[in-house]
C-alpha cells in the first residue's frame, strides 16, 4: 500500500533528476557526434553562446527570433489541447505573411494603424490555410496530420506564384533592382517598433508573444471555452454527448492555431530582424520558424507558459548556429542538438507515466 504513496518532494526531485539526465544525454550525444566527425565540441559551445548571447546586439536578435517561435508554439498548444495534430505551421506562417504583405499594401492606411492591419490579416491568412485542413478533416474525414503537412509544400508554391506576379505580391521593377521574387519593402511607419535597450534592439513582437502566451494559458485553464477544448481533446465521445460539437470546436481550434502561425508570419514581416527578409516577403521567408515553433510546443507539453523559456532556448540555438560555422563544424549541428534535445525530453514524462501506472496496479492488487 505504502509504495503507491510518494511525497511530492521526492517526486519533484525525481522529475528534476530525470530531466537533467535526459538533457545531459542529448548534449553528450551531440558532443560525441562532433568529436566523431573530427570536430571539437568546446569551441562549438563557445560559438553558440557568443552568437546567441555574448556578442553585442545578439541577445536582442535571439529575443526577436524567439517571438515568432513562441507565437507558433502558443497556437499549436491550442489545437493539441483539442486533440488535433496540426503540423503545418510552416505553411500557415508563410501564407499569413503573404496575406499580411498583400492586404497591408492594398489597404495601406495610416502608419501605426496599418501595422495592426498587417498583423490582423496575417492571422486571417494563417487561419484560412489551416481552415482548408479543418474542412478536409470534418467534412471529408482526411486526417489533419497529413493534410496540414501536405499543405506546407503547396503553401510555399502558392506564395512563390504570388511573388512572380506583379498584380499579387511582386514588387515593381524599380523597387527590387535585379532581384526576382521579392515584395515591396514595408514603409518605415508600417513596421513594428524596435526600441533599443542596452545596445540590443528588441522587437515589440516579443512582448506580443509573451502576452498572448499568458492569455492563452489562462483561457485554456480557466474559461469555459478552454474547458470544452480540453474535454474534446481528452474524450471526444464524452464531449460530444455533453454538447461540445466536435466540428465547430475542433475546426475553430485548428483555425486558431493557424491564426497564431499566420500572426507569427506577419510579426516576422513587420518586426524585421536580420534573419527575416528585411521587412519584405521573399521565397523561403518562413525559414523553418514554423517547424521550430512546433518543436517548442512539443517540448512545452501543452503548457503555454513553459513554451516561453523553451522558445528562448531554441531561438538561442538558431542565432548561435550562424557563429558555429567559423569553428569548422557544420552549422547544422544545431538542428541535430535540437532534435536530440526534443527526443530526450520526451523520455521523462513517459517513464513517470509508466511507473505511476505500475504502482497503481500494484496497489490495486495489494488491496484485493
Amino acid at each position: 500500500m505504502t509504495s503507491a504513496v510518494v511525497s511530492p518532494r521526492v517526486r519533484s526531485g525525481e522529475w528534476f533528476m530525470l530531466y537533467a539526465l535526459s538533457i545531459m544525454a542529448a548534449l553528450v550525444f551531440s558532443a560525441a557526434l562532433v568529436e566523431a566527425t573530427g570536430g571539437d565540441w568546446h569551441p562549438v559551445v563557445n560559438a553558440l553562446l557568443d552568437g546567441s548571447l555574448r556578442r553585442p546586439g545578439r541577445w536582442g536578435e535571439t529575443l526577436g527570433t524567439a517571438a515568432p517561435m513562441l507565437l507558433v508554439a502558443t497556437g499549436t498548444i491550442i489545437s493539441s489541447k483539442a486533440g488535433l495534430i496540426n503540423i503545418g505551421q510552416e505553411g500557415q506562417l508563410f501564407v499569413g505573411a503573404a496575406f499580411a504583405t498583400y492586404f497591408g499594401f492594398l489597404l495601406g492606411g495610416p502608419g501605426p494603424l496599418n501595422v495592426i492591419l498587417i498583423l490582423v490579416f496575417g492571422s486571417i491568412g494563417g487561419a484560412l490555410w489551416a481552415g482548408v485542413a479543418a474542412g478536409l478533416k470534418f467534412w471529408r474525414n482526411v486526417p489533419e496530420v497529413l493534410s496540414t503537412l501536405l499543405l506546407v509544400t503547396v503553401a510555399g508554391q502558392l506564395v512563390a506564384y504570388g511573388l512572380s506576379k506583379p498584380w499579387l505580391l511582386l514588387a515593381p521593377l524599380a523597387d527590387r533592382g535585379n532581384r526576382n521574387q521579392v515584395s515591396v519593402q514595408l514603409a518605415e511607419d508600417n513596421r513594428l517598433p524596435r526600441p533599443e535597450i542596452f545596445g540590443n534592439e528588441i522587437p515589440l513582437a516579443v512582448v506580443l508573444g509573451i502576452v498572448l502566451a499568458i492569455v492563452v494559458s489562462f483561457a485554456l485553464s480557466r474559461t469555459v471555452w478552454g474547458f470544452k477544448l480540453r474535454m474534446l481533446g481528452r474524450n471526444p465521445r464524452a464531449a460530444q454527448r455533453s454538447g461540445v460539437a466536435q466540428t465547430r470546436y475542433g475546426a475553430s481550434a485548428l483555425m486558431l492555431s493557424g491564426a497564431f502561425a499566420g500572426l507569427a508570419g506577419a510579426a516576422m514581416l513587420a518586426g524585421g530582424g536580420f534573419a527575416f527578409g528585411n521587412y519584405q516577403l521573399v521565397p523561403g521567408f518562413s525559414t523553418s520558424i514554423g517547424w521550430t515553433g512546433l518543436l517548442v510546443a512539443l517540448v512545452a507539453r501543452e503548457k503555454a507558459l513553459v513554451a516561453i523559456p523553451v522558445a528562448f532556448v531554441f531561438a538561442g540555438l538558431r542565432t548561435g548556429s550562424s557563429f558555429v560555422g567559423a569553428t569548422g563544424v557544420e552549422g547544422r549541428i544545431t538542428d541535430v542538438i535540437q532534435g536530440f534535445l526534443v527526443l530526450a525530453l520526451l523520455v521523462p514524462p513517459a517513464l513517470m507515466f509508466l511507473r505511476d501506472r505500475r504502482r497503481a496496479r500494484a496497489a490495486a492488487t495489494e488491496r484485493v
Binding site: 474525414n141 482526411v142 486526417p143 501536405l150 509544400t153 541535430v336 527526443l343 520526451l346
Partner: protein
C-alpha cells in the same frame, strides 16, 4: 487551349520516359507504403516514414562508400531504417510517448543528422547496374519501365507479395491485424499488443530503409539531404487513399507517382506550364485523392490510439 492540353496529355501518355519515371516514383513510394501499411494495420500512423526513408538513403550511401558494393549498400539502408524504427517503436510503444510527437521529432532529427553528416563525410555513390529482363522488357511503352530498370527495382516484386503473405497468411499477421482493430480483445487473448506494434514498425523501417537505398542506387545515384523531399508523406497518404488494403495502397502509389512523373514529362516535352502549379501537383493530387476517398473507407479500429493495459 483545350486541344493543346489534350495534345500534351497524348504526348505524355505515348512517351516511354513517362512510364519509366512513373515506375521509379511508384516503386520508391511502394517500398515505403508497403511497410507503412503493415504499421497502420497494427495501429500506428507512423509519420516517421519520411525519416526512415532519408535515414535509409543515407546509411546506404555510407555503406556503399565503405564497401563499394550495392548489395551491402541495400543492407545498410535496411539497417538505417531499422535504427530509426527502433527509436520510434521503443519510444511510442514501450515508453508510450505520443507517436506523432516522436515521429515528427525523428523526421526533423534525421533531416538535421543527414545534412550534418553528409557535409562532414560526403559519401560517394553510383547507380546500380541495369538489368533488362529478356522479352518482357521489349513490350512497347511499359516494358522498359517495368522490366528494364536497375536491379534494386526488382526487389519490390518480391517484397509486395511477401508483405501480403506475412499479413494475411501467417499467425503473426493475424495477431498484427487484431492488434490494430481491437487491442483490448487482443490483449485479453494473450497477444502482447505493444510488442506486435513495435514489430510492425520495425517492418516499416526495414522496407522504408530499402526504399531509401533504392532511391540512391536505383534512381538518383547520389545522396543529398533533400532526396526524399516530403514524399514519405505521400506514401502515408497512399495507404489512406487505398483504404488500408494492400492493393489500394499500391494503386495509390501508382496514381501519386503518375502525378510526380507527369510533372517531369510535361517539362521535358517542352510544354509551358506554371511551374508552381506543377511543383505542388503531386501534393494537390494526394489531397484531392484523400478528400474523395478517405471518408468511404474504414480505418483500422485502433489506428493512432496508444495501448496501455487497463486503460480504455
Amino acid at each position: 487551349m483545350i486541344s493543346g492540353f489534350f495534345q500534351a496529355v497524348v504526348d505524355i501518355a505515348s512517351s516511354e520516359s513517362t512510364y519509366i519515371n512513373g515506375a521509379l516514383f511508384a516503386a520508391f513510394l511502394a517500398f515505403a507504403a508497403s511497410g507503412e501499411w503493415v504499421a497502420e494495420r497494427a495501429g500506428t500512423l507512423n509519420i516517421s516514414v519520411e525519416g526512415m526513408l532519408l535515414g535509409g538513403a543515407f546509411t546506404s550511401a555510407i555503406g556503399y562508400d565503405i564497401t563499394e558494393s550495392v548489395l551491402i549498400g541495400l543492407f545498410a539502408g535496411v539497417l538505417g531504417g531499422l535504427i530509426i524504427a527502433g527509436v520510434q517503436a521503443e519510444m511510442s510503444h514501450r515508453l508510450s510517448a505520443d507517436q506523432f510527437v516522436v515521429g515528427l521529432t525523428l523526421n526533423i532529427l534525421v533531416f538535421g543528422l543527414a545534412g550534418f553528416l553528409d557535409n562532414e563525410l560526403e559519401p560517394a555513390t553510383k547507380l546500380a547496374g541495369r538489368w533488362n529482363i529478356p522479352l518482357l522488357s521489349d513490350i512497347p511503352l511499359v516494358g522498359q519501365a517495368l522490366f528494364g530498370q536497375r536491379w534494386p527495382f526488382y526487389v519490390l516484386y518480391a517484397l509486395i507479395p511477401f508483405t501480403w503473405w506475412l499479413v494475411f497468411r501467417t499467425r503473426w499477421g493475424l495477431e498484427l491485424r487484431s492488434v490494430g482493430e481491437n487491442p483490448q480483445s487482443a490483449d485479453v487473448s494473450g497477444i502482447d499488443v505493444n510488442k506486435r506494434r513495435r514489430q510492425s514498425i520495425y517492418y516499416a523501417g526495414a522496407t522504408s530503409g530499402l526504399g531509401g537505398a533504392f532511391l540512391v542506387f536505383g534512381q538518383v545515384g547520389l545522396f543529398e539531404d533533400s532526396i526524399v523531399g516530403g514524399r514519405g508523406f505521400i506514401a502515408i497518404a497512399a495507404v489512406i487513399f487505398g483504404g488500408w488494403t494492400l492493393r489500394g495502397t499500391i494503386a495509390g502509389c501508382v496514381i501519386f507517382a503518375g502525378a510526380l512523373s507527369f510533372r517531369l514529362s510535361i517539362q521535358g516535352l517542352g510544354y509551358e506550364v506554371n511551374s508552381e502549379l506543377l511543383q505542388s501537383l503531386p501534393f494537390l493530387v494526394t489531397l484531392f485523392g484523400m478528400a474523395l476517398f478517405a471518408h468511404r473507407v474504414r480505418a483500422p479500429g485502433a489506428l493512432a490510439q496508444p495501448f496501455v493495459r487497463g486503460l480504455k
